[in-house]
Amino acid sequence: MNHAEKAEVFNKDEAKVNWHDKALWYVREKRDTSAHKVQGWEYLRELGSSIKANVLSNLDEYLIQFETNAKKNGVHVHWASNAEEHNNIINSILEKHQAKKVVKSKSMLTEECHLNPFLEKKGIEVIDTDLGERIVQLAEEPPSHIVLPAIHKTKEEVDVLFQEHLNTKPSQGNPEYLVSEARKHLRDKFLKADVAITGVNFAIANTGGFVVCTNEGNADMGVHLSKVHIACMGIEKIIPQEKHLGVFLRLLARSATGQPITTYSSHFNKPDDGKEMHIVIVDNGRTEQLSREDFRASLHCIRCGACMNTCPIYRRSGGHSYDYAIPGPIGSILSPGKDMKKHSSLPFASTLCGSCSNVCPVKINIHEQLYKWRQVIVKEQKQPVVKKSILKVAGVVLSKPSLYGLAGKSARFALKHFPRFMIYNKLNAWGKARDLPEVKNENFDEWYKKRNKNG
């Protein structure tokens, strides 16, 4: 199913759509309020964007610098060209430590690499410890949002899920109770874990350190209680200097949830005594995206989720309708670069309203990239015959004023004389829920000519 079809299914339950829309709009409003409080917000975005642009233009040097510094700090650095290499590297570290139990905090990259099923097949227990991620893990679903993975679930649904998996009592979806049960359940997992896997929000070239941001404290609970810490990062997570965190940490949480900063911004530089720290640096299609001039700025993304919260389509179609690890507007410009055939409907799942580009803390021109992907997709992917021929013909007609005069007349003629049931047939997507405009007796051209004659 393409996006439109999945969205249509999601829209069968209008009350749920309203609920979903409202929940995310609320987050968008919190973001607005929070950003309003920052003196120089737009300048801060400007900085975020130009620092990232510099990063991409000097990425290899920064990565080498990062690696050198991290190694000096006693950190093991690994490089993975693709998901398979990434998963194998992690597996080899686990094997070396005979690790059977892994706790993992949020990392969209491991989601992208399908790490969990890979490790599970090898008999390793992988527990997602971010509450939202744990919820979708128990439900055996992918996250539907990068910051709020379980935003599509009502509290009643979570209640039922927890009863089934965590033996909780029915609570009519009492969030306090459910969180406290999850805390107990996951605490046990933290205490028993051999290895902790985390994502990386920012990796700093000039220090070799990296920062992980959470609200729940799950990354730290995992890392500080296990022997080995593996941090996975896409190559684009690099920033040049530690002071640049002063720009990005000001932007990230405010854009994401409207908080002034996440509860914990943890700065990892050296492993604790007697422990191991590994960093896996992953390409998996990113250098290819880097080669595409029109689309490379998509690599600025700091995964705040703001473009999802503001997107009127995302809010009304749900994250799963995108069928990609990263949904919403940013997912729609990243995914065609990974698999154009599979994701060819995503750049069309937008009205190009531009709200995403306005909220994006690193000023990615998301809606312009959506427009550009459309041009690429039409050229490279097979298009539905009807759509294609209509638009091709339109191109010819519109370039010839004389032909156009005729076509316009016949369109109006059809609107005026065909009975409603003809126009509102199954193929007429316009007419399913909307009336067509009432047809006037003359068009503007005709009126104008008449007026000039009379005048």
Partner: protein, 201 residues
């Protein structure tokens, strides 16, 4: 293990080569004009408001009143781990060699913060302050003692203030742990500390 090593090496070279080939011409790193963020505000007041906003509580007291204050605030806390010299409280000895797993049932941890940031209520706590990295997270309740002349305006200032440090582990803590993952309902007390009290001295 040898096979893996080789593969990793290949990954590195392949990635770096590919970047070299695909990256755009060098773009300048922007100068940051910190003046653009200047604000004439009462740092202490804004800091206090932000601590409240992120779900913490904050109190200005004298150093000698800390013990009594904590006892009133946490009358039932028996397992107390303290790493600050500003208070004599503490029932559990803690050292670099303490197994963090043994801290599972701590009621209260008391640590010092090095720096507060007024724009977001975040406090910089390092491994030096907490001795055991897990301490501020695994404890049920957390008290951070902070000197009130150590509050700066925003994160850019904060990073220049902590620039010269021993870099091993440090964390900005802003409030108690929390989640809104169930229907956007904010619940305080996720995996980390259930509450945060900041004592300004």
């Amino acid at each position: 293990m040898n096979g893996i090593k080789k593969e990793i090496k290949m990954g590195r070279e392949a990635i770096l080569q590919s970047i070299k080939k695909n990256k755009p011409d060098l773009l300048p790193l922007p100068q940051i004009n910190e003046k653009a963020f200047d604000e004439d505000i009462n740092l202490l007041e804004v800091f206090k408001n932000n601590i409240a906003l992120v779900g913490g509580s904050i109190k200005e007291i004298e150093t000698k009143a800390i013990d009594a204050e904590i006892k009133t605030l946490y009358p039932n806390a028996t397992q107390i781990a303290n790493t600050s010299a500003k208070t004599s409280l503490g029932s559990i000895k803690i050292s670099k060699n303490t197994d963090p797993h043994s801290l599972e049932h701590i009621d209260l941890a008391i640590v010092e913060g090095e720096l507060g940031v007024s724009e977001n209520g975040a406090i910089w706590v390092t491994a030096y302050n907490s001795i055991v990295r897990a301490l501020p997270f695994i404890t049920n309740d957390l008290v951070i003692i902070l000197e009130k002349d150590k509050i700066c305006l925003h994160m850019l200032q904060a990073y220049s203030l902590i620039d010269k440090r021993e870099r091993d582990f440090g964390v900005f803590i802003s409030g108690p742990s929390k989640t809104a993952d169930i229907e956007q309902c904010l619940v305080v007390g996720a995996h980390g500390a259930m509450s945060l009290t900041v004592l300004l001295v």
